[in-house]
């Protein structure tokens, strides 16, 4: 289900202007709440593993932490709708990269399994899946305290 990340070898603090075009993932609709941010890069570093950083390049340049949802639940299984596959220009042979965004609330470490970001590394297209029905939670607790 997951692909190796088309990563940019960039220090998380580095100026994102140094990003080369081939590293840029285009999310045509942005992400809910950050619709104006269409371009992202996925940044990995040993300090962050198993997390990766999803860095926006437009507007407020939002920065997210994310991880493979199967790191959270080995049985994680969300099926991409045909319309979403078309938006990613995904062909059957494409191995997609799945990322669940993480967030902190009151010291709790929460993972959004409900709406994963999915990237097609071959086409460098991405989107956040907002399925009408899902058995997963936007606030899945991974670490407490």
């Amino acid at each position: 289900m997951s692909a190796s990340v088309a990563t940019a070898s960039i220090d998380p603090g580095a100026d994102a202007q140094a990003v080369v075009p081939g590293d840029v993932v285009t999310m045509r609709d942005g992400l809910p709440g950050f619709e104006q941010c269409r371009r992202f890069v996925v940044i990995s570093s040993p300090d962050l593993a198993p997390l990766v950083q999803l860095q926006g390049l437009d507007g407020p340049r939002p920065s997210f932490l994310a991880l493979d949802p199967r790191q959270v639940r080995a049985d994680y299984d969300t099926v991409l709708a045909p319309a979403d596959r078309r938006r990613l220009a995904a062909e059957d042979a494409d191995v997609l990269l799945w990322l669940a965004l993480v967030h902190l609330e009151g010291g709790r470490f929460l993972v959004n399994l409900r709406a994963p970001v999915v990237i097609n590394p071959r086409r460098m297209l991405g989107l956040q899946v907002v399925a009408a029905e899902s058995s997963y939670d936007t606030h899945h607790e991974l670490l407490a305290g």
Binding site: P12, G13, R28, D47, P62, L65, L104, Q128, A132, E141
Partner: protein
């Protein structure tokens, strides 16, 4: 806000190619059918809002905190491999 009165099987058209049709009117709700081009995302408002709120919360983690979190997470994953969890489903 534009307000329309529509009966069952009547529709409205938005722009070029988006149609919203009333399929059923019941006591507890209205069932709508939406035909839109494949590149137009259609979401239930409350789900979209929940994802937006989670994203806005997720975008606020500082790099220093991220490094600490990652270390805790590595420790956690090393001691407890991911298993089907009782929560979140």
């Amino acid at each position: 806000m534009l307000v329309f009165t529509r009966k069952r099987n009547e529709a409205i058209v938005i722009g070029d190619g988006i149609e919203v049709r009333v399929l059923r009117v019941g006591k507890d709700g209205v069932r709508l059918g939406i035909a839109a081009p494949a590149d137009v995302a259609v979401h239930r408002r409350e789900i979209y809002d929940a994802v937006r709120a989670a994203n806005q919360s997720a975008a606020s983690t500082t790099p220093a905190r991220a490094t600490k979190l990652a270390a805790r997470l590595r420790q956690r994953l090393a001691t407890t491999p991911a298993t089907p969890a009782a929560t979140g489903a």
